[in-house]
């Protein structure tokens, strides 16, 4: 991959020249879109650009990834591990094998008797932080062990 910068245009413009529009190129495009904190998502055949801060959580169901906002669901062409690595710095955190949550949109957290944590979102939806991700949650929120 060759990257050139030309100081010609008034606006910042990025063009991708490639042999074929394959998966690699599409991943690159998605990463560039994420730079502006916008995610390309689809719903009913239409494409929408959604601000990362408006996203409540991402969920993978049968190899398809869905993006949830306050009252809408979109499909997104990214894998959960790609989202995890690129959105971590914006307050997103993986809470189970199939869910990444926006911690800024969590209303409350409640540890449960079965050693999981229930996260209630600002829109009232409930998500489960599974046991394997609780240590990570504690680290992110700086909660001491034993509390």
């Amino acid at each position: 991959m060759r990257i050139c910068i030309h100081e010609q245009s008034k606006e910042l413009q990025i063009d991708i020249y490639c042999k074929r529009k394959d998966d690699y190129v599409m991943r690159l495009k998605r990463h560039l879109e994420l730079f502006e904190h916008k995610l390309c998502a689809k719903k009913g055949g239409e494409t929408f650009y959604i601000e990362a801060s408006d996203v409540y959580y991402f969920e993978t169901v049968d190899d398809r990834t869905f993006l949830y906002t306050a009252n809408d669901v979109f499909e997104i062409g990214m894998r959960l591990y790609e989202i995890d690595s690129s959105l971590e710095e914006f307050g997103f955190m993986r809470i189970s094998k199939s869910v990444i949550v926006n911690l800024n949109r969590v209303h409350s957290l409640r540890p449960q008797l079965n050693r999981t944590v229930m996260a209630t979102m600002q829109n009232g939806e409930r998500l489960i932080v599974s046991r394997s991700y609780i240590k990570r949650l504690r680290n992110v929120l700086k909660i001491q062990e034993g509390k």
Binding site: E59, L109, R110, Q112, L113, M118, E125, V140, L141, I143
Partner: protein, 153 residues
């Protein structure tokens, strides 16, 4: 939140493992009881009853605790549902199998059974109310701190 094929698969895995676990234990207990009472064989009808009893119990457990039907429900809600349905199921099964009757001799047995269920349930409620409610405050407070810090960045 949607249900995936994985959730459905997990439900059946729990069901299979649960039945295997319960039937094995009930069989071991059955053999021990037979040995203690000097019975040389376990009747087939008793084995069938045992199997059906285990299947029903495990099914109730999977319905309330596997991620399939009540994915969003709080754990205490699930536990309450489980205790209520399982107690009812056991009472009906014990009556049908003749272990419980409406005679005075089985009344202490029934009282002991109901007592054990109630004590377990009350213990769970107390732990949830006093131990986890405290943690609830700590976790949410730390979350707010995190959100304030991020807003400031």
């Amino acid at each position: 939140m949607r249900y995936s094929k994985g959730d459905i698969k997990l439900f059946f895995i729990w069901l299979r493992n649960g039945i295997a676990f319960c039937v094995t234990w009930l069989l071991i207990l059955g053999i021990l009881i037979c040995l203690i009472n000097g019975i040389e064989y376990v009747p087939l009808s008793a084995l069938n009853k045992m199997f059906l009893f285990a299947c029903g119990g495990v099914l109730i457990f999977c319905i309330w605790f596997s991620p399939l039907p009540f994915k969003k429900m709080r754990f205490m809600g699930r536990l309450s549902g489980f205790f209520a349905s399982f107690a009812l199921y056991e009472l009906v099964s014990f009556f049908l199998s003749g272990l419980f009757t409406l005679s005075e001799t089985t009344l202490p047995l029934m009282a002991a059974f109901i007592g054990i269920m109630l004590v377990l349930y009350i213990m769970c409620i107390l732990i949830d109310k006093y131990v986890y409610a405290k943690q609830d405050v700590i976790y949410t407070e730390k979350l707010r701190e995190y959100q304030r810090k991020r807003e400031g960045e």
